[in-house]
């Protein structure tokens, strides 16, 4: 799995010198180390989709957290149950790690946001929507001077299971059957399609094969086919399959990309994200 890589979710976006980081999985540690070798940015924006471990476990190992000259703005989903700060603090403090937020030297600000939120990060326009994932997750659209990137790393499709705060007890039957649930799923899908509409690059959950999806629809992830269908509906230029299953080998991913490319609508380029992949001119 070395060609595609084994680190968990972390994507860096650079637009006219502004550095924006999408999620803080184990890849974040290497990103932090890469800064040390060049001119470290004085300002970073970290956009978090949700706080499942594979999206935040790199945070305590991000060396710039200890740089007093760094201003770090962290964005994540507002929740009634716990603050974003409390959730991240919990991940790096005893009894899980020997740190506390007070040990971090960077100037850190937390921004709790919801779906449909729009804001500017320098030259980049950011918009959010809700993805269909256990305990809810955000998805982001970044309109940069070099093109539009939409980031939806964790979402199930929008026809079988509607995820919310509560755990889904999968019985082998679709749970979203009431009219209101079906309406909510349709609205969620419409918002996701809008978020991805004519994006130059769509990074999208493709953890499963179709056969795996059929067995695990309650996990809140999509198949590569479902990712391609969303990309087609949203008229995306390039689909970047993402959130590869831990067991997915390089050869399997090569094959999945070829299969989906063969099925893709004209004009859609299908690729799979790999560690070190770069998109765009300055992106």
């Amino acid at each position: 799995m070395l060609r595609y890589g084994g680190n968990t979710t972390c994507v860096e976006v650079v637009a006219e010198g502004r550095h924006i980081i999408l999620d803080a999985g184990t890849g974040l540690r290497m990103l932090g180390d890469s800064f040390a070798q060049e001119q470290a940015p004085r300002q970073l924006d970290l956009l978090i989709t949700h706080t499942h471990w594979d999206h935040i476990i790199g945070f305590p190992f991000f060396a710039p957290l200890f740089d007093p000259n760094l201003k770090l703005d962290i964005y994540g989903l507002a929740r009634t149950q716990s603050s974003l700060r409390t959730t991240l603090a919990g991940a790096l403090s005893d009894p899980l790690l020997p740190l506390s937020m007070d040990d971090l030297r960077a100037q850190i600000n937390f921004f709790e946001i919801g779906a449909g939120h729009c804001f500017e990060l320098g030259p980049v326009q950011v918009r959010t929507a809700l993805a269909n994932h256990p305990y809810r997750a955000l998805a982001y659209r970044l309109e940069t001077p070099d093109g539009v990137l939409t980031f939806i790393p964790d979402t199930g499709p929008f026809h079988t299971v509607l995820f919310g705060e509560e755990r889904i007890e999968w019985t082998g039957q679709p749970t979203a059957r009431s009219q209101s649930e079906l309406r909510e799923l349709a609205a969620m899908k419409a918002a996701i399609l809008e978020l991805a509409y004519r994006a130059d690059w769509l990074i999208y959950d493709a953890q499963f094969t179709d056969a795996q999806y059929a067995r695990f629809p309650h996990w809140g992830h999509s198949s590569a086919t479902q990712a391609r269908e969303i990309a087609e509906e949203a008229q995306v230029s390039q689909l970047i399959l993402f959130h590869h299953d831990p067991h997915r080998t390089d050869e399997e991913l090569d094959r999945i990309v070829a299969e989906q490319q063969a099925l893709a609508a004209p004009g859609l380029l299908v690729t799979a994200a790999f560690e070190g992949m770069e998109l765009g001119r300055t992106l």
Binding site: G6, N7, H52, F61, P95, P98, Y135, R167, P246
Partner: protein
């Protein structure tokens, strides 16, 4: 008994081409007794791979029993637990021993790790395997024919860090990780605990000469000194630093062996590697 390393990296998993021979998964070591008892020391990300292998046998049919000995609850020692399919199959049984933190019991730490804000498992209650948590104590106990002794060697803030000693028919394996020899008493206790071990697995992320702020972790030289003072036969360096490449580890081990040879020391030293197996 037999030992197999499933994860040997400290702090954070490092899936990197320059670290593949020793491996990038975090701490997980499996011990199999001569009569089939299965004991796992810590459940870092290496536990995911171990789980995949266990799936092929009794555990795949919901008839497996596994004892976990947890040294402490920092990420690199526990994060692998919820991922393998075997812990979600009803009928399998997990006996989990480890220390409570002053901020909560071992069970509470695992439950918190699996809470919905962090994990789609939504809490320990939804782990399919039967699981029982036991707060570790210094009272020796047996797992099948393996005798287990445990010792709270050092602590970090609210979390005590325990060492384990497994004995079977006179053969001895000792596991000491994340220890801080900030008091001479702790060093003496470690030496007594590891006395005459045939195999000592000891965390050893950095050399003394490396200027790394490392929360007071013991150094590679500490592991050598404790092993020598305790009359250990084989020392396995473990909990490698995240940036340590395979070639660097090879060089460190070569240098240590050369130094031991000049001292006429009988101590055998190696760096633990993912997949490495040894008979104690």
């Amino acid at each position: 008994m037999k030992v197999r390393f499933w994860g040997v990296r400290g702090y954070v998993p490092t899936p990197h081409a320059a670290m593949l021979r020793y491996g990038g998964n975090t701490c997980c070591t499996a011990v199999t007794g001569d009569h089939g008892e299965l004991v796992v020391l810590d459940t870092g990300t290496g536990f995911c791979m171990l789980g995949d292998e266990l799936m092929q046998g009794e555990f795949g049919r919901g008839r497996g029993t596994l004892t976990l000995l947890i040294s402490h609850t920092y990420w690199d020692h526990i994060l692998g637990l919820p991922f393998p399919g075997v812990v979600h199959i009803p009928g399998n049984r997990l006996d989990i021993y480890g220390p409570d933190s002053t901020r909560g019991s071992l069970q509470m730490v695992y439950d918190g790790m699996l809470s919905p804000v962090y994990s789609p498992v939504y809490g320990l209650a939804h782990i399919g395997a039967t699981h029982r948590f036991t707060t570790i104590s210094t009272e020796p106990f047996t797992i099948g024919r393996l005798l287990v002794r445990a010792l709270p060697l050092s602590r970090r803030q609210h979390s005590p860090i325990w060492a384990y000693r497994l004995e079977e028919e006179g053969r001895v394996l000792v596991y000491i990780t994340d220890v801080r020899y900030n008091e001479e008493r702790i060093r003496e206790e470690a030496i007594a605990f590891a006395r005459n071990a045939h195999v000592l697995i000891h965390s050893a992320p950095y050399l003394r000469a490396e200027q790394v702020e490392d929360y007071g972790h013991s150094r590679i030289e500490d592991a050598i000194e404790v092993a020598q003072a305790a009359g250990v036969e084989r020392l396995l360096l473990f909990h490698h630093a995240p940036n340590r490449t395979d070639d660097e580890l090879d060089a460190i081990v070569s240098r240590l062996r050369a130094e031991l040879a000049t001292q006429d020391s009988p101590l055998q030293v190696a760096a633990a590697a993912e997949g490495m197996e040894l008979v104690v």
